[in-house]
C-alpha cells in the first residue's frame, strides 16, 4: 500500500512532460525483452506508473522494479503510441538513485576510471605495445585535469566519491 505523492510526480513531470501522456496501454512492457526474460519482474510500464503517482520510495529507495535492469535497447521509446520518452525518464530516475548512492558497483568503477584517467579503459603498456605492432598511431587522450574540472563542476565527483573514499 502506498500513498500518492503529488510533489514528486510534479518534479518528474517538470523534467519530462511526456510522462503525462502515458495511458498505461502496456505496449512497452509487452515489447520489452528484459520484461519477457524476467517474467515481468522488470516492467517499464510499472516504473512509469510509479513516476506518474510520484512513488519516490518505490522508485529510489526500494527500486522495485529495478530500473538498472533496463538494457537501454530503446524499443519501448520507439513503440510507445503516446511518444512517452521512457528511457529519458528512467535516466532521470537513475540519476536520482545515483545521488542517493543507490546504484550498481560497475557504474562506480566506470565513473571512477573516467574521473581518474579521462577514459573508461586506461592504456596499459601491453596495449600500447600491441598498437605499435599493429601499426596503429599513438593516442593522445584528454588532459585528466580538464576532465576532473568538469566532473567537479557537475557534482559528479562529489557523488562518485562520496561513501567510497
Amino acid at each position: 500500500m502506498s500513498v500518492i505523492n503529488y510533489e514528486f510526480r510534479n518534479e518528474v513531470l517538470k523534467h519530462n512532460a511526456s510522462l503525462s501522456y502515458c495511458y498505461q496501454c502496456s505496449t512497452c512492457s509487452g515489447g520489452c525483452p528484459v520484461a519477457l526474460l524476467t517474467e515481468g519482474k522488470y516492467n517499464p510500464r510499472k516504473i512509469i506508473e510509479e513516476a506518474i503517482l510520484g512513488l519516490k520510495d518505490k522508485l529510489i529507495e526500494s527500486q522495485d522494479p529495478n530500473p538498472w535492469l533496463c538494457s537501454t535497447c530503446q524499443k519501448c521509446v520507439e513503440l510507445c503510441p503516446q511518444k512517452v520518452e521512457l528511457t529519458e525518464i528512467f535516466t532521470l530516475i537513475k540519476n536520482l538513485c545515483f545521488e542517493e548512492q543507490k546504484f550498481p558497483e560497475a557504474f562506480y568503477s566506470q565513473g571512477k576510471a573516467v574521473f581518474d584517467n579521462g577514459v573508461a579503459i586506461p592504456y596499459s603498456n601491453s596495449i600500447v605495445a600491441r598498437r605499435k605492432n599493429l601499426g596503429l598511431p599513438e593516442i593522445k587522450i584528454a588532459s585528466v585535469e580538464e576532465i576532473k574540472t568538469l566532473m567537479n563542476e557537475t557534482n559528479f565527483a562529489k557523488n562518485i566519491l562520496r561513501g567510497n573514499e
Binding site: I4, R45, K46
Partner: protein, 563 residues
C-alpha cells in the same frame, strides 16, 4: 363449394412465367420444361419461360400475354419477392389487373441457390412450388388499395435540446408544430449544466441561443407545464389530449415525436455520498455555477451505479463529463490535484479522444479499478486497488465527485402505454430496429430521439432531434398515404364468431387492433401490416388474413400433397 364459386373458378385464367435468372436458375434446372408442364395445371391458360422476366422485354411479354390470353391471374417463378415483388405488382396493374392478383414463386433463393448440389431434387421442388403457387393464384382476390388522409401538423413531446431541434426543423419545413414541455421552461438537462464539452462553452449561452430560435420560429407553438393525458388514432391522424395547468387542450396531429430525455441517478449509500463533501458531477457543476468550489485535492469515481448487474449499461456521457469538470477545475486552479478512478475510459472518435489527452496534458491523473475490487471511501481519503500497480493506493481528497449514469424517466411507462410503444430492459424507449431504424417506433407515425432512447451527449441529441424531424416529415409531406392492402380483417359474416377474448389485441405487434366503443373488436387497417399473427392465434378463426386466406393456403397444401 357453391355453384357460383365453381363458376368463378372456371373463369380464372392463370399465366405462369418461369425465369432463368441468367444461369442462377436456368443453369441448374430446365425452365423451359417447367413452363411446359405448368400449362397442364388447373386454370393455367398460358405459360412461358424468360431469360430474365424482370428485364424490360420480360415485363413487356407479361403485359402482352395478359391482353392476348385475357389472363386474370399472374404467377412469376423467379428470384425473391423481397426485391422483385413490387416490380411485378406494378407490371400487372399497368396491364389493368389488381396488383394483388399477382403471386410470386421463389425458385431461386429458396430452391436453386440452396440445392446447387442436387439438380434433380431442385427440379422436383421447383415443380411443387410452381404447382402450389398456381393453385393459390386461382384463389387470389382483388384487394382495395387503402388510402388515409394525413394531418400535416406534428407534436413533439419534450422541450429539451433534442425536442427543440426536432420542433425547429419541422417548423422550418413548414409544418405546424406543437412543442410540449412538462416543466415551466424549455431546456431540459441544459438548464442544470455549467460548461459543455468538448469546447468548454457556457451551457446557458448555448441554451439561450436555441430558445431564441424556438421563440422566433414560425408555425411553432410551445406549451410548457404541459402533460400528455391521452393519445388515440394512427399514422397521419392522431388525437392528442393535453393538460396545461389544469385545463385540457386537444390537438390533432399527423405525427408524434418522443424526446422526453432521461433522469439523474442519486447514488444513495454509494461511496459515502452525502451531497456535501461527496457529491455527483451534476452537483459539482451546480457548485461551479454558484462559484463555491474550494477544494484542492479532487478524486472522481466513474461508473457509480452503472455497468453493474442491476444497471448493466454504460451511460456514455459520464467520462466526458468528468474530463470536462476536471479541466474546468484545472483552468481555475492549475495547482489542483485531480485523480479520476475509471474502469474503461469512454472517449470515442476524434475530438473526445483529444479531450482525454488534453486532460492528461493538464496533469489530470487516471487510475483503473476493477469491478472485483471497488474503491473504498474514508472521511478524507480513498483507497483504490490500482490495477496498474497490482496494489492498493491511498488518495487524499477534499472533494469526492461521483460520476453517475443517466437513467430512464419514471413516467416513461405511462407515456409508452399511451403511445402503445415498447420500453427496453432499462426502461428506455425501444426503437423499431437498433441498426437501421434508430429513430422510429415499430408503429408508423411515432418517432423517438435523444436520451429518452439511450444516454447521449448534446451533439447526438441534436442530431437525433433532426433525425426524428426527417422521419416525421416523410409522413407529413403527403396529403394521403397508401397503406398495405393485404391486411387482416374481421368480416361482417365472421363477427358472430368473435368471442371477444382480446388475444388478437395482445399479440398484434403494430397495435392495429382495438375494442371500439360498441365493445367490438376493430382492426385499424391503416396500422395493420398483414403479418397474420392475429389470424393465426384467433381461437374461433373469426379473423381473416387477406391475401393469405385459409382457402388460399389450403389450396397450396392440397396442390402439394394432391399429386
Amino acid at each position: 363449394m357453391s355453384e357460383e364459386e365453381k363458376k368463378d373458378i372456371e373463369d380464372v385464367r392463370v399465366g405462369v412465367f418461369v425465369c432463368h435468372c441468367g444461369s442462377n436458375i436456368g443453369g441448374l434446372i430446365d425452365c423451359k420444361t417447367l413452363a411446359e408442364e405448368a400449362k397442364s395445371l388447373p386454370n393455367v391458360a398460358y405459360a412461358e419461360d424468360n431469360l430474365y422476366t424482370c428485364s424490360e422485354n420480360g415485363l413487356a411479354s407479361i403485359k402482352a400475354a395478359i391482353k392476348e390470353h385475357n389472363l386474370n391471374r399472374v404467377v412469376v417463378a423467379s428470384c425473391t419477392p423481397r426485391t422483385h415483388e413490387p416490380l411485378f405488382r406494378d407490371c400487372v396493374s399497368e396491364a389493368g389487373l389488381n396488383k394483388y392478383l399477382f403471386n410470386f414463386v421463389n425458385i431461386r433463393d429458396q430452391c436453386t441457390w440452396v440445392h446447387q448440389k442436387q439438380p434433380e431434387e431442385a427440379y422436383k421442388k421447383a415443380q411443387d412450388l410452381i404447382r402450389m403457387g398456381a393453385a393459390k393464384a386461382v384463389k387470389l382476390e382483388a384487394l382495395d388499395i387503402i388510402m388515409v388522409n394525413v394531418n400535416s401538423s406534428a407534436l413533439v413531446i419534450g422541450g429539451g435540446v433534442a425536442g427543440m431541434s426536432a420542433a425547429l426543423s419541422l417548423s422550418r419545413q413548414g409544418f405546424q408544430t406543437y412543442l410540449i414541455e412538462k416543466e415551466d421552461k424549455l431546456g431540459g438537462r441544459l438548464n442544470s449544466l455549467h460548461k459543455l464539452f468538448p469546447h468548454q462553452l457556457d451551457a446557458s449561452d448555448f441554451l439561450d441561443k436555441i430558445k431564441n430560435n424556438v421563440q422566433n420560429a414560425q408555425n411553432l407553438q410551445v406549451l410548457t407545464s404541459s402533460k400528455v393525458k391521452n393519445i388515440d388514432g394512427f399514422v397521419g391522424n392522431f388525437e392528442v389530449e393535453l393538460e396545461q395547468n389544469g385545463k385540457n387542450i386537444e390537438l390533432s396531429v399527423g405525427a408524434i415525436i418522443v424526446a422526453v430525455g432521461s433522469s439523474l441517478f442519486t447514488p444513495t449509500d454509494l461511496y459515502g455520498y452525502d451531497g456535501k463533501k461527496r457529491i455527483t458531477q451534476f452537483e459539482l457543476e451546480n457548485k461551479f455555477i454558484n462559484n463555491d468550489v474550494k477544494a484542492n485535492n479532487f478524486v472522481m469515481i466513474q461508473c457509480v451505479g452503472s455497468r453493474i448487474e442491476e444497471r448493466p449499461y454504460c451511460s456514455s456521457v459520464c467520462c466526458m463529463t468528468a474530463l470536462k469538470n476536471a479541466l474546468v477545475i484545472k483552468e481555475k486552479n492549475p495547482e489542483a490535484n485531480i485523480t479520476i478512478l475509471f474502469r474503461d475510459l469512454y472517449t470515442p472518435g476524434t475530438d473526445y479522444e483529444k479531450y482525454y489527452r488534453d486532460a492528461r496534458e493538464q496533469g489530470v491523473l487516471f487510475i483503473k479499478y476493477g469491478l472485483d475490487k471497488l474503491p473504498t471511501v474514508e472521511e478524507d481519503h480513498v483507497k483504490v486497488f490500482n490495477k496498474y500497480m497490482g496494489e492498493e493506493l491511498i488518495l487524499p481528497y477534499d472533494l469526492l465527485v461521483l460520476s453517475t449514469p443517466l437513467v430512464a424517466n419514471n413516467d416513461n411507462k405511462e407515456l409508452a402505454q399511451m403511445l402503445k410503444v415498447p420500453l427496453e430492459a432499462n426502461k428506455f424507449f425501444l426503437e423499431a430496429h437498433v441498426k437501421l431504424r434508430p429513430n422510429d417506433f415499430a408503429t408508423d407515425g411515432i418517432y423517438i430521439g435523444g436520451s429518452a432512447k439511450w444516454p447521449v451527449d448534446i451533439t447526438e441529441a441534436i442530431t437525433q432531434g433532426y433525425a426524428t424531424a426527417a422521419r416525421a416529415s416523410r409522413v407529413l409531406s403527403h396529403e394521403t398515404l397508401e397503406v398495405e392492402g393485404a391486411t387482416s380483417s374481421l368480416p361482417e359474416y365472421n363477427k358472430s364468431l368473435c368471442s371477444g377474448c382480446e388475444i388478437c389485441i395482445k399479440v398484434c405487434p403494430f397495435n392495429a387492433i382495438i375494442k371500439n366503443e360498441n365493445d367490438e373488436i376493430e382492426i385499424i387497417e391503416a396500422l395493420c401490416k398483414g403479418c397474420g399473427v392475429c389470424g393465426a392465434t384467433c381461437t374461433n378463426q373469426a379473423i381473416v388474413i387477406r391475401h393469405f386466406t385459409d382457402d388460399q393456403i389450403f389450396s397450396e397444401i392440397e396442390a402439394f400433397g394432391g399429386y
